[in-house]
Amino acid sequence: MSEFFASQDWLDTLDIVKTEVPLAIWETVYVTLISTLIALAIGLPLGVLLAVGDKDGIVPLPAPLRHFLNVLINLLRSVPFLILIVVVAPLTRVIIGKAFGTAASIVPLVIAAFPFIARLVEGSIREVNPNIVEMAQSTGASPFQIITKVLIPESVPSLISNITIALTTILGYTAMSGAIGGGGLGKLAINYGYYRYKYLVMIITVILLIILVQIFQSIGTKLSVVSDKRLKK
């Protein structure tokens, strides 16, 4: 055992961990959070719109628009993330100025995440008891008030747990974006583990990713439970 800790391999790994891992963790976390936030800004209203936009919903959307949104979301959701990165590269170049690097990885991440979030939000909103919506209508609520004062507040626990799912999925995607030079733990794993055969570094980054997912998931679950007033006894 002591031989292992004296080996050059271990010393190199230790060196890499000390110099590169803190930055990589930071990049992973902030790219994940920023991407989720932007994706949420698009996906939340879109998901709500899909949920209330049914033919007999509270804000019926014109059928062509409804179909278009559904097809768009299904289309984006069916493209594998690694392919999506390449496909949207021209768009990324327009928005960020370049198609690779940490900032550039946010564009495909958002494009992959917002349709996913929209579907999750749609599900959360649809879970709200339709009788409560009827109550709001009978009380004289406008469609906008029903959305802001009934549908969204009533589905907060479900929204939090769904956004947590999105967050951990996006965390996984950020690791993949290491392939195009997106910073973070993914890049570390690919650069050292795959290109330079430093398996130890790869194992450590994988463990760190697992820990990050655990932390996000625990916080999300906790928040969801705490926010749910139905569970108060």
């Binding site: 009827e134 109550m135 009380t139 004289g140 007033k229």
Partner: protein
């Protein structure tokens, strides 16, 4: 005053059409507690939802104080809905809000200042008997308490009309009784018009002064509860008033029957059958009997059979001399 005129509503599904309402006309006076009763599927819920246009009738009019609600623009309709509020079988409270915030909800929609809304909500919680539950969440309350919060919420906008859609059906008899008491109390204090939808005759007997009986989408009968209870005319009404099916009691050999209906204390306190036997020498056989409280009076009915027509006729003569009693011949 609420006038429903010739309301018709048909639901179309893939392979069936259901006529939920057929030419329904009902008038409800101001300050009345009006019951609409019918079996499941009679069209009650559709009817009550037509009053505030949650459900649009295919034809017919809903006039509230002379205003045709069906012709109102969205915004006007929303204002009308604040004057015609509703409570539900499932209470329909916002589960993520405290009771206080639930009662404040309609005021919030109207844009009432928060401090004023809170003051009003606290008053209302006091009225419904839950002043200490302001900061509790609905999940922490019993069904009866949740319905009280829902009533407070329904009263927040000072409505003219309260619609109760099977409001006590999910509650046990004792709680149901307490909720109906509260509704009557509020009606007496504020003069609010109450429309109660139910499938239980007991609810109608307990609080309603007028009733319409809905049967397969049609009004089978309507009028004062006392009249309908004592002299049901339609088949649907008889089924509700005599749920035990007293009508159908079978006796092998043909006999002569009378239904004796008594209302009020005098009749209830008279030993009729004994008098009949002692004074007239007529023997009556009791086939069935029941008493019920309608409003604050006791009403009852009794089905008697006699051996021959002569004794039946004599019995009619005698019974008609007693106050608060009416007699009806029943075809065998």
């Amino acid at each position: 005053m609420i006038e429903l005129r010739n309301l018709t509503k048909t639901f179309h599904t893939a392979d069936t059409t259901v006529e939920a309402l057929k030419n329904v006309s009902i008038t409800v006076g101001d300050g009345d507690i009006f019951g609409i009763i019918g079996m499941s599927g009679a069209g009650k819920s559709t009817l009550v939802r037509c009053i505030n246009m949650l459900e649009r009738p295919d034809s017919g009019e809903v006039l509230i104080d002379g205003v045709d609600v069906g012709k109102l623009k969205n915004k006007e309709l929303r204002n009308t809905r604040r004057e015609v509020t509703m409570i539900f079988q499932g209470f329909n409270l916002l589960m993520q809000r405290t009771c206080l915030k639930n009662v404040m909800f309609p005021l919030e929609l109207e844009g009432v200042k928060k401090a004023d809304a809170k003051k009003r909500a606290l008053e209302l919680l006091e009225i419904v008997g839950l002043p200490d539950k302001a900061n509790a969440y609905p999940a922490q309350l019993s069904g009866g308490q949740q319905q009280r919060v829902a009533i407070a919420r329904a009263l927040a906008t000072d409505p003219k009309v309260l619609l109760c859609d099977e409001a006590t059906s999910a509650l046990d008899p004792k709680t149901s009784h307490a909720i109906l008491d509260l509704i009557r109390e509020i009606n007496e204090k504020t003069g609010i018009t109450v429309i109660i939808i139910t499938h239980q005759m007991s609810v109608i007997e307990e609080v309603c002064s007028n009733v319409a009986i809905l049967d397969h989408g049609e009004v089978a009968e309507q009028g004062r509860v006392v009249d309908i209870f004592t002299h049901p005319q339609s088949k649907a009404a008889k089924r509700l008033v005599f749920p035990e099916g007293e009508q159908e009691i079978l006796v092998e050999n043909a006999d002569y029957r009378l239904r004796v209906i008594f209302g009020g204390a005098k009749a209830a306190g008279t030993p009729l059958i004994a008098q009949l036997a002692r004074e007239k020498g007529i023997e009556a056989n009791i086939l069935g009997a029941s008493t019920k409280a309608v409003g604050d009076k006791a009403y009852g009915n009794m089905l008697l059979s006699f051996a021959d027509e002569a004794s039946k006729d004599q019995a009619v003569e005698f019974l008609r001399t007693v106050n608060d009693i009416s007699v009806e011949e029943v075809e065998v």
